[in-house]
Subunit: 321 residues, 2 copies
């Protein structure tokens, strides 16, 4: 179970390694939203997403002799890069298991960060068996993407920074939400340090398992697991560890359309000069376009990542007038 003490300890381990990302604002966005909008620009984190924090938190907490053998993760996306960079920063091996149809650029980027990439065939390979075999033979430690207390503690450091830097005492804090690691970590940090800030998960429409789970009081699954441009935050269901935290601390979830996510990316380009990926833009989209379900004269949105290719970004820019 992640505690505020664990989040503080993660912050101490991350100091000098993770970037303290800025909170950005623009009067043009305030006007669209009808209230002040504060964007926590976690897209500016190392590796382009908040995942570096959780990766570093987990790797840095391992006993040195365990860490020296290396770590392993399953991911074709931001978690892969976060774990790879964290392992490299500690000078230990990282093995990342990816489907062989993952985008070539993501495979290349993960390798360039020093990781060994092991590819498997989605149709015929058993990812978990491959990983378990490798982990056992080489003594690697598995770093889970969200249902892992040390990872949640690392993501929670985003919440500590919001509590320190936002200068707002009462507001909704909208968080792009996949498995719930970032959302639950921020919620735990704010519970302790800024209890007037209430976390609300934001998801793409059609993939709002967390919002439905919160409403139902029990874990709900998504019908589909693919087919969204917000691929970074599509998960089957909330985590067994993250869901009880969100259930206790979070306000109602929100869901935005893909078009709204693309427009939020374009406005972040135009007004804030930062690059967001679709899944990293859903919280800003909710702040800008769903203001009628938000209360208060300010809203905080967490931009969770910016790893987007040029073609998708160009598509977002086409939404500008």
């Amino acid at each position: 179970m992640t505690t505020i003490q664990m989040i503080d300890a993660a912050a101490a381990r991350l100091k000098g390694h993770a970037r303290r990302t800025p909170i950005l604002t623009s009067p043009f966005l305030d006007e669209i939203a009808g209230r002040r909008v504060l964007l926590k620009a976690e897209c500016l984190q190392h590796t382009g997403s908040f995942k570096f924090r959780g990766g570093w938190s987990a790797v840095s907490a391992l006993e040195p002799e365990v860490r020296a053998k290396g770590v392993i993760a399953f991911s074709s996306g931001n978690h892969a890069q976060g774990v790879a960079a964290a392992a490299k920063g500690h000078g230990v091996p990282a093995v990342i298991i990816m489907p062989e149809d993952a985008p070539a650029l993501k495979i290349a980027n993960t390798r360039a960060l020093g990781a060994e990439v092991v590819l498997y065939d989605r149709a015929t390979g058993d990812r978990d068996a491959i990983g378990a075999d490798l982990a056992q033979r080489r003594g690697l430690t598995l770093i889970r993407p969200f249902d892992e207390p040390l990872v949640i503690a690392g993501q929670g450091t985003v919440g500590l920074e919001i509590a320190d830097d936002a200068g707002v005492e009462q507001a909704d804090v909208l968080v792009c939400c996949g498995g719930g690691g970032l959302t639950s970590g921020i919620a735990l940090a704010l519970e302790a340090r800024a209890p007037g800030l209430r976390v609300r998960p934001v998801e793409p429409q059609g993939f709002d398992d967390v919002a439905r789970s919160l409403a139902a009081g029990a874990i709900q699954r998504n019908d589909r697991l693919s087919g969204s441009i917000c691929d970074a935050i599509i998960t089957p269901q909330p985590g067994d560890i993250t869901f009880p935290i969100m259930s206790r601390l979070c306000g109602p979830g929100m869901a935005v359309t893909e078009e709204e996510a693309l427009r939020a990316m374009a406005l972040a380009f135009q007004r804030l000069k930062v690059v967001l990926e679709p899944g990293g833009a859903v919280a800003l989209a909710a702040a800008l376009f769903h203001g009628d379900s938000i209360e208060g004269d300010a809203v905080i949105a967490v931009a969770s990542g910016g790893n987007v290719d040029a073609a998708m970004f160009a598509r977002a820019l086409e939404t500008l007038d």
Copy 2:
């Protein structure tokens, strides 16, 4: 004459108003450059460029009764928005004189920041006469874009932050250079606070008046004044105030091609998740693609602005593989 005391005083006036912009890095950029690259991301400043600092510095230093009458500036670009936002922040009027063929978006943005925009016909209007008449009738104070000690002091606060945050003692500091306000301000700050950091102006090829002036030891003009995509940093010649400062403190100038500026924009998108305009990317371009004329194992590049339209940004993204 701008002094380090004036820069410190400007920093005190800017505190809580200007953003302390982050220094961003990526191992992928280090590999291209052959050394560590530290990017001072001033594109994340309010209004999307460093010009907000100079504008705020000048407006905040006025006597209250003078300031209350308002300020005036000639600009169709970043200086206009910087002065407009600074005046708005002080609750005083701003008049911005722009050519009537300025892009509609820039006119709209400047108006949206609360400024009164006065348009003139480039072919038949006398900009200076219009401005002088308005200034006299309404008691407005003219804020010059670079040849003004208080503006230079404001831009110099970028140098104070580099001295504090870079963690590097010996390096070239590459600065996107137009009239030289940012370059000379940073140079003065670093002379006092980090004398091992040497400022070098970077310009577009064909518009390298500052580099040629430094080499000749006397002010040289550009042959052309338009026709560059790096419009934000195209000026006829270095300023009468900025040139002696640059001449005393700066290393040799550098010049990059438009293609290099576009590639630097694309790499900043891909690896750092920030938006640069062409003129704001020339320093990064020099760091990445002209490493043979740089010494040392680290280089600092200042990204001066990010006010670029979607079409030009899409053109930059096309340079990615």
